[in-house]
């Protein structure tokens, strides 16, 4: 199917907005032609098309008339997945930092503390707004290492765009260096900076 939309006379960003809407109603293999009246709209539409993975070409048809032709690509599932990823990204709350300073939650019976911590990390995965970053230090380092019952949830959080970091000194101290199974290691300088820059720190 071919579709032509006329965006001549439209101010930025309307050509891109209209092209986005039109492309969402089309399928792979369809061709979308967007008519515009200025070079800047051509360049913005080219960026848009390339971002979506479409084949893009542009031609100048007259003094103030350009056509941007987009060959829609990818199976319909692909753009959908892309949407999904960007939704997940958006669900992270900017500047929210979760600090896990121990492998138990609260003081008291360690068995209870361990299961509370597991429940806490699990509950984190279920929040509408995920944290930006999770920082683990001291015995908190165990939570991101092999054998931890929090590991699966940590991996899930990481796959949803959350940055998971564990204190390198702590990994060394507890002999966990080879066992870190999710995210990266970090240093005190970075930990301090992240705490300073956080809009919100959650510490169970």
């Amino acid at each position: 199917m071919e579709k032509i939309i006329d965006c001549k006379g439209m101010a930025c960003p309307l050509p891109v907005v209209n092209a986005k809407k039109a492309s969402e109603e089309l399928n792979s293999g369809d061709v979308l032609t967007v008519l515009v009246d200025n070079e800047i709209a051509v360049q913005n539409l080219t960026r848009f098309g390339e971002h979506k993975g479409f084949g893009v070409s542009a031609e100048k048809k007259g003094e103030q008339e350009y056509a941007v032709i987009m060959q829609l690509a990818g199976t319909p599932a692909e753009p959908a997945r892309e949407e999904e990823v960007s939704c997940v990204m958006d669900s992270r709350r900017k500047g929210m930092l979760v600090v896990l300073s121990a492998n138990v939650m609260g003081t008291g019976d360690p068995k209870l503390g361990t299961s509370l911590m597991k429940a806490f990390v699990f509950a984190l995965t279920k929040q509408d707004q995920l944290p930006d970053t999770i920082l683990c230090y001291n015995t908190g380092a165990y939570l991101t290492c092999e054998g931890a019952d929090t590991l699966e949830d940590m991996k899930l959080l990481e796959s949803e765009g959350v940055t998971v970091l564990t204190c390198g000194t702590c990994l060394d101290f507890y002999g966990l260096k080879e066992k870190l199974a999710v995210g990266g290691a970090t240093n005190m300088y970075d930990i301090v900076e992240r705490m300073e820059n956080a809009a919100q720190i959650i510490k169970p």
């Binding site: 907005v17 800047i40 848009f48």
Partner: protein, 345 residues
């Protein structure tokens, strides 16, 4: 906040994106008759942020004006941002604003209460800056416009032009980039409210704190990053100083949302004009995504200060800035003139 008419829908350009390109402007002003005056130490020929006229050995008068169409629907915020942006040019010269005049164009369909809110925003910004609004001029027109004409003062020996960077200096930028792209994205309803609140708060923040810290150091050169973007303003600084400015792209602070929006094609026209203006003088030494380049060329409304100071003082200055301005960063350095005016690395 709800208003009768969405202010931004009355505007065809976003904020400083409405600014005429530097190249176009230079051509337009070519060949006019003008008096010369030795007391005028910074005039139009320097492409600086404001003019500077020496009144006596201790006092230099700094004058500037800036105004633009609405970039936000909340009239109070619009007024505050427009005034903050106008006041910034005085800070960029190392001075302190004292007197200001309103410049206002009210469009058909704007309620008196809306106009009053715009002005209230302007008065609040001026008050925080320690300046007095002494009057102004209001007309009716097709598009709303608001801004200020500002007068300020500095010691003539402490005026910071944009054309005095020295080899060995490093560059500090005090606000993250991406404002033009994100406000363009907002017009397409593609930006979360939370992000916009962050952007508006940044634009409504005076460069006063940055200026007050900066002047305690041996700063050689300063400008504010506005309509001509980081690239355009750095280009002017490099050319005026007869140096080459190296921008360390990985160190440049920006709002992360701008990267995605730029790659989606939500790049304001001003960014393309800035690219046309500066790119002949730019050499690129590493792989930079097109979207990141767009951010470097993105026109900023009420952007941060960009200043050059000796490397030996930079860390101390940055540490002091970071106490109140956490996003401030060292973003590059200055060398003797090389083949190009700007190097992205």
């Amino acid at each position: 906040m709800e208003t009768e008419v969405k202010l931004t829908k009355l505007a065809s350009c976003a904020g400083c994106g409405a600014k005429m390109g530097a190249g176009t402007l230079a051509k337009m002003l070519e060949g006019f008759k003008a008096h010369s005056d030795p007391q005028l130490i910074v005039g139009y020929d320097k492409s600086d942020d404001a003019s500077v006229y020496v009144l006596d050995e201790n006092t230099a008068l700094i004058q500037t004006t800036d105004f633009f169409p609405p970039i936000v629907d909340d009239p109070y915020l619009y007024g505050k941002i427009a005034a903050t942006n106008a006041l910034s040019d005085v800070y960029a010269m190392g001075g302190e604003p004292r007197l200001a005049l309103n410049i206002l164009c009210a469009a058909e369909g704007m309620e008196d209460s809306t106009i009053r809110e715009i002005l209230r925003g302007g008065y609040d910004a001026a008050y925080d800056a320690g300046a007095i609004i002494t009057g102004g001029h209001t007309i009716k027109g097709a598009e709303p416009i608001y801004g200020l004409a500002v007068s300020g003062f500095a010691h003539p020996q402490r005026v910071l032009t944009n054309s005095n960077a020295k080899p060995g200096d490093v560059l500090i930028l005090t606000k993250p980039l991406g404002i033009g792209i994100i406000t363009t994205g907002a017009k397409a309803d593609m930006v979360e409210k939370e992000v916009m609140d962050r952007i508006y708060a940044q634009m409504a923040t005076l460069n006063k704190a940055a200026r007050d810290i900066m002047v305690a150091y041996d700063v050689h050169s300063c400008t504010d990053v506005t309509g001509f973007a980081l690239m355009g303003h750095s280009y002017e600084m490099a050319q005026g100083s007869n140096c080459t400015i190296h921008i360390q792209v990985d160190k440049v602070p920006y709002h992360p949302e701008a990267l995605e929006l730029a790659s989606m094609g939500l790049v304001p026209a001003g960014a393309y004009r800035n690219r046309d203006y500066a790119q002949a003088g730019v050499s690129i030494r590493k792989g930079i995504s097109l979207a990141m380049e767009d951010i470097l060329y993105d026109p900023q409304t009420s952007g941060g200060l960009l200043f050059a100071l000796p490397e030996a003082e930079a860390e101390a200055c940055l540490a002091q800035l970071k106490q109140t301005i956490p996003n401030a960063a060292i973003i590059g350095y200055v060398t003797e003139k090389e083949d190009s005016d700007l190097v992205l690395e």
